[in-house]
Structures are given as structure tokens and as C-alpha cells.
Symmetry: C2
Subunit: 138 residues, 2 copies
DNA sequence: GTATGTGCAAAGACTTTGCTTTGGA
DNA sequence: TCCAAAGCAAAGTCTTTGCACATAC
């Protein structure tokens, strides 16, 4: 049984066919799909799924902290399944030429960030870091 | 004469009364106002200024790199005047309880970021870093 | 004088919501 | 059974745009 599905059940959500499809789509998405993209992929499995349901489901998942919402400087929201452990916290490098999103992670960076917030008298709830750039040509 | 106004003139923009007001508002804004807020502030000086003009002006300024667009996880864009020098690059800590935006800067952090991007084979064009958190209660 | 800029209202893009019907527990 | 959830379409919110008029250069 999928992890997402399990957690949704724990949260008391009814497991409808639509939700099962959407959860599966999210878990199988290695990228950071938009609502539209999630809906398209879900429709391939069950064409009757409506965009409203996708919005509502993603909203619920985000509220439960199972999914993270990004925007990457664009005009619409994009989502990814949230990793289980905090130390897996990663960030994004967006290739401005191809639109590709590359994930990266650095413990050193995380430590640094926490030190900065602490210095300002703040406790971090969340943080996002995005680099926009392009490949260095050799 | 204001710096922003000077640069707009250099760029060949016509200096209409509306633009002068909007530029002044931006330069006097220590915060990170939304389009709506900029428009409100501008209207106090000249009530005839329309939101469409504010959008168009901010769009132009962003294109010229004189202004930076943020979203801070919200639903609408927020702006600030871009600092002259790159080494003044700063980031934002958003207080999730008050909505207040605190700016911070760290050369060490910048150096670290560049090292990471380099390691991935990328040249940084821009980067944004946002911390969401709340004050530590003593 | 002429290309740009402005205001207004309409159109767009993305997201949310009300209402009725459907379906999981 | 009964309340949560889905589908549809309407409404909302933020942003952009077409058009006629105004204005900086």
C-alpha cells in the first residue's frame, strides 16, 4: 500500500477512486507537476476526474504536509510529494534555458540557514531556496 | 533627481506624471508592496492613476532590472527596488505570525550558493531564498 | 506631429466555491 | 444511512490587453 494513501487514511480521508489515482500520479511524478499536469495524468487513468477535485485534493495534501507547493517564479503552482525526513530537505535549481528543475541538498547549507535565523531570533518553520541559472558551456 | 527616474530616462521611457509618482512611491517604500499597495500609495498623490498603469510600469521596471518581483508564498506579486550592487544581494525572512518581511544578507551564504551551483555545472543568473518562521519566545 | 502612455473596461489565467448528486465507511 | 467527496459551472482574484484619448519629446 502506498505511503501517501496510508497517511490519507490515517487522516480520516475517504479513499475514493479519484483520490487513489491522484495519489498514484503524485508518487510516480519525479518532476514538479502543475495542477493541470497532475489532472492530465490522472485523466489518462480516469477521464472523468475533474480539475476541481485535483485542486481540492492537492489542497488537502498540502494542509496535511504530504505535499509541497512551489511556484518557481511562474504564474501557476507546482507540487511535489514531501519527503519524510527533514534532513532530506532539498532545494531547486531551475534551468532558465530548458525549464528543467534540478534538486540539490546540502547539510552545510541547512546548518548555515538555521544559524542565520537563530541570529535573528527566529525559529524556522519552512524555507525555500531557488537558484535560476544555465549550464556552463565548456 | 532620483536614481530610478534617471535610469528610466536613460532607457528611453517617457517621464509622465504617473510614472514619476510611481517611481517616488517605490523609492520611498521600505517594505515590499504589492501592486495594489503601490497603486494605493500612488493614488494618494494622484487619484487618477489606474491599476493598469501601475502594472505596466512595474512590468517595465522589472524588465529593466530596476525592480524585483517576489511572491513570498502569497497569491499576488510584491515588489522592491533592486539594489545597485550585487554584493548587496539580500534575502527574506517572512514572519508567519505577523506577515512582516525581514531582510538579511550573508556573504558566506552567497559564497556557498555559488559553490553549489558551480558543482552542478551551472552559472547563477538569480537566486531567491526565503525563510518562513516565527519569533522565538523567551 | 507622432509614437508612447493612460484609463477604462473587458478578457485571461489560475484557483475557489455553491450546489446537487454520488459513493465510501 | 449519512456525511464526505465529486462534477459542473459560476464566481473570485490577480493580471493583461484592446481601444480611444491624451501627452512627452
Amino acid at each position: 500500500m502506498s505511503k501517501l494513501l496510508l497517511k490519507c487514511a490515517e487522516a480520516g480521508l475517504k479513499m475514493t477512486d479519484q483520490r487513489k489515482v491522484i495519489l498514484k500520479v503524485l508518487e510516480e511524478s519525479g518532476d514538479h507537476p502543475s495542477v493541470d499536469t497532475v489532472c492530465d495524468r490522472a485523466k489518462r487513468v480516469d477521464p472523468s476526474i475533474s480539475i476541481a477535485t485535483v485542486y481540492r485534493t492537492l489542497g488537502l495534501l498540502a494542509e496535511l504536509g504530504l505535499v509541497v507547493k512551489h511556484d518557481f517564479g511562474g504564474t501557476y503552482a507546482r507540487f511535489e510529494v514531501k519527503e519524510e525526513h527533514d534532513h532530506e530537505h532539498h532545494h531547486h535549481l531551475i534551468d532558465t534555458e530548458t525549464g528543467q528543475v534540478i534538486e540539490f541538498q546540502s547539510d552545510e547549507l541547512e546548518a548555515h540557514i538555521h544559524k542565520i535565523a537563530e541570529g535573528l531570533g527566529y525559529k524556522i518553520i519552512d524555507h525555500t531556496f531557488e537558484i535560476f541559472g544555465h549550464k556552463i558551456k565548456k
